[in-house]
């Protein structure tokens, strides 16, 4: 891990972000927009920043995207 990576991990995302609870509420919509080739970050602002800053929600997102892609 570089100093830059460590600093990013410590300080988290810069922009506005949703809460963990809001992330969970929106996660299914976010994933289906991704899988449809839409722009989820334009439709659901604050999600991307939260997923960058919260490892647990990021893992949930990665899992949901993978299994939802299987249909």
């Amino acid at each position: 891990m570089t100093d830059h990576d460590l600093l990013a991990r410590l300080l988290g995302p810069e922009g506005p972000e949703v809460s963990c609870d809001a992330c969970f509420e929106l996660l299914d919509q976010y994933v289906d927009l991704e899988l449809a080739g839409d722009d989820p970050d334009a439709r659901l602002p604050g999600m991307r920043a939260h997923l960058e800053g919260c490892p647990a929600c990021r893992e949930d997102h990665e899992s949901l995207r993978e299994i939802a892609a299987q249909g």
């Binding site: 891990m1 410590l10 800053g53 919260c54 647990a56 949930d60 299994i67 939802a68």
Partner: protein, 207 residues
């Protein structure tokens, strides 16, 4: 009841529950009369069990422990889904909506299982001799500013949460369990701490 078996680096999760899950009117079926509702409940539980095994396999868990965790996750997710069924607005596929509940349950249970019996040190300072990444806070001027701001700008609670989550890598669900709080409350604390650290850095001085 095991549905998983390891196969040459991949995990077989059993047959897909249904090829028409996305087209099915789950809400109508789950609200329907017993003859309609019971099969829908069984199919939903099977779908959730598949999701639980998928999540646990991603984390390298298999065998009887994984089966038990998967059963618990599917059961808990089914209860959560039924309690929130009327809030489903169709903004996503029902299956995607349902999967998120079981992935959360399975992920939380797996993280807590991995840390079961393991001590979580709640430190109120950057450890002087704790090793990476604590030691790394001595390696550059910017990181030293962060270290000093952790010590001088954060409240005691913010410092404990920040050190555990951001430095020591304690999973947030594990810390939430140990502190009898929630993921959301802890992340809010972490967010506020990060905001203070950013402000300190932008001022160029930790105090």
């Amino acid at each position: 009841m095991s549905q998983t078996c390891q196969m040459a680096g991949s995990t077989y999760l059993g047959p897909a529950v249904s090829g028409t899950n996305d087209q099915r009117d789950w809400i109508s079926d789950l609200h329907g009369p017993s003859g309609q509702r019971e099969p829908a409940l069984a199919d939903l539980h099977a779908l959730l069990l598949r999701g639980a095994h998928f999540e646990l396999a991603r984390r390298g868990l298999s065998g009887r422990d994984a089966d038990d965790l998967a059963d618990q996750a599917a059961d808990d997710a089914l209860l959560a889904i039924l309690a929130k069924l009327d809030t489903f607005e169709g903004r996503s596929r029902f299956t995607t909506w349902a999967y998120k509940f079981v992935l959360l349950e399975a992920g939380v249970k797996a993280r807590r299982r991995a840390w079961h019996g393991r001590e979580v040190v709640l430190a109120d300072d950057v450890h002087a001799t704790a090793g990476d990444p604590h030691d790394r806070l001595e390696t550059s001027e910017t990181l030293r500013l962060v270290r000093d701001a952790v010590r001088t700008r954060l409240t005691d609670h913010q410092r404990v949460v920040f050190v555990a989550l951001a430095l020591d890598g304690v999973p947030i669900d594990v810390l939430a369990e140990r502190l009898s709080t929630t993921r959301g409350a802890l992340y809010k604390t972490l967010h506020d701490a990060r905001h203070k650290l950013r402000a300190a850095l932008s001022e160029g001085s930790p105090t």
